[in-house]
Amino acid sequence: MFYIAIFFQYVAQYMKTRMQYRADLLVEVFSDLLFQAVNLIFILVVFGHTNLLGGWTRDEIIFIYGFFLVPYALFSSFFNIWDFNERYIVKGELDRILTRPIHSLFQIVLERMELESLFGAVTGIAVMIYAGNNLGLGISWTDPFLFFLFVTGGMLVYGGIFVMIACISFWADARTSIMPMMYNIGNYGRYPVDIYDSVIRFVLTWILPFAFVGIYPASYFLGKEEWFLYSFLTPVIGIVFFGISILTWNSGVKRYRGAGN
């Protein structure tokens, strides 16, 4: 309960600071929208030249992209730990975090949240509704619950992977460029995995399971029965990966000795 109260305190504080610079906020939301538009334009232009992409139609691909945007928006709102090494380890900010009686990772999530990214979820849902309409998809009463479950699973997959990478900083001091690399690999999950070769498919499913953020869960709503098993694995993979990342984090924090101040 305490954690929930703290969460809303931070959100309120965050709103106050952001509302101070409304123009910045607008521009940021706008450039996010532009980025999503560019990806959609890519899909639209490509399907001007082909009817199927590895057996998937235009609207299916758009639907997958729309779904992907929702867990991704949640991830980028709450897991801005890409600069964890510079910000918390090198500058010794983690010392401050550790003196407080709340879990350290939770504090960092709160401190670094960027709620304006949540707007991407709205875009994503709009895109899904548009594509779903074209495909004539119906909504059954279980769909909203599963959607929530899958979206959370996808967010946890992303969060888990990035927290684990941030944990590297506890063991190795050197600055790594793995973070930006991961963002680029994450893009692979936006498209059907059957277009990749078997090695990449295996990696995207079991090692860096980005396929569980876009294609696998979205397949359920598209009624692709051959992928159902993977769709329902989404929350499991999410919990497993996030769980491992928390354990890694905890043992990393134990090793942390501070950068001196």
């Binding site: 890519f42 490509v46 001007g48 030249h49 680029n184 498209y191």
Partner: protein, 263 residues
């Protein structure tokens, strides 16, 4: 002129000191090339050619477009924005050189460094992973070389324009980000311009962006005939000259209304 060449040299040496950062850069670009390679292979499916380009030409296009990006891409706009915000620009303005010219030369130093330590080895590595096709024709290589230099200038000029807007907008991080996204799409980095619907191609014809990525990549993959290549290069040259005008106008206005706070 000497001081400008010296600036290229200094930037080059500066980049050389931090060269390890670039090995991961090659990896990141290869990952991107891979993503688009698989996408395009799936898009082509059974088709031999789309818009006159074969699958191999397409993979080569993707690879060369990304590796060329390493050469022409720079963060001059962000550097300018930072210098203007911090007031450092005041010192820059009293120095005995042209500020914009100096920024361009710094970008060129960076570009030359990345050409040798990023683009060339990157292209070499990528050619082992994906099936690419290199032209044996020396005219293609000469056209490509001219075209890529011009694309550096067009991209840098657009960066200078974006950088100058900081004088008027004060905070333009959003604009800089938006510009980058727009350039990736409209320059032909993600999709060749010839794949766009005709009406969009007609609009893009009147914009400088396709001179950044589309033209050199089309030349490299031999998707342009010699005639088309020469025409495209002339268009690039015209854009380089045309873009000087808005830069100069904005620069004069910006200097007039510049107020340095502290410093």
């Amino acid at each position: 002129m000497d001081k400008y060449i010296e600036m290229i040299r200094i930037r080059f040496l500066m980049m050389l000191a931090y060269r390890t950062n670039y090995y991961t850069g090659i990896l990141i670009y290869s990952i991107n090339i891979g993503a688009y390679y698989f996408l395009w292979s799936a898009i082509y499916g059974e088709k031999d050619a789309i818009e006159g380009m074969s699958v191999i030409q397409m993979s080569t296009y993707v690879a060369v477009a990304w590796m060329a990006r390493a050469f022409y891409f720079n963060n001059i706009d962000r550097e300018m924005a930072a210098e203007i915000k911090e007031g450092k620009v005041a010192v820059e303005l009293i120095r005995p050189y042209n500020y914009l010219g100096m920024k361009t030369m710094q970008g060129l130093g960076e570009g030359i460094f990345r050409l040798f330590f990023f683009s060339v080895p990157g292209m070499f590595i990528v050619s082992f992973i994906f099936p690419l096709q290199f032209s044996a024709d020396w005219t293609t290589w000469i056209f490509f070389a001219i075209s890529i230099v011009l694309s550096f200038f067009i991209n840098t000029q657009i960066n200078l324009l974006t950088g100058i807007t900081t004088f008027f907008l004060f905070n333009n991080t959003g604009l800089i980000r938006a510009k980058r996204v727009v350039i990736d799409l409209f320059s032909g980095l993600l999709i060749p311009i010839s794949f766009f619907p005709v009406w969009a191609q007609d609009v893009l014809k009147f914009l400088p962006f396709q001179g950044i990525s589309y033209v050199p990549s089309m030349i490299f993959t031999k998707s342009f005939s010699d005639n088309e290549a020469i025409q495209a290069i002339i268009m690039q040259g015209i854009w380089v000259l045309l873009l000087i005008i808005p830069i100069q106008v904005l620069w004069v206005i910006a200097k007039k209304q510049l107020i340095i706070q502290g410093g």
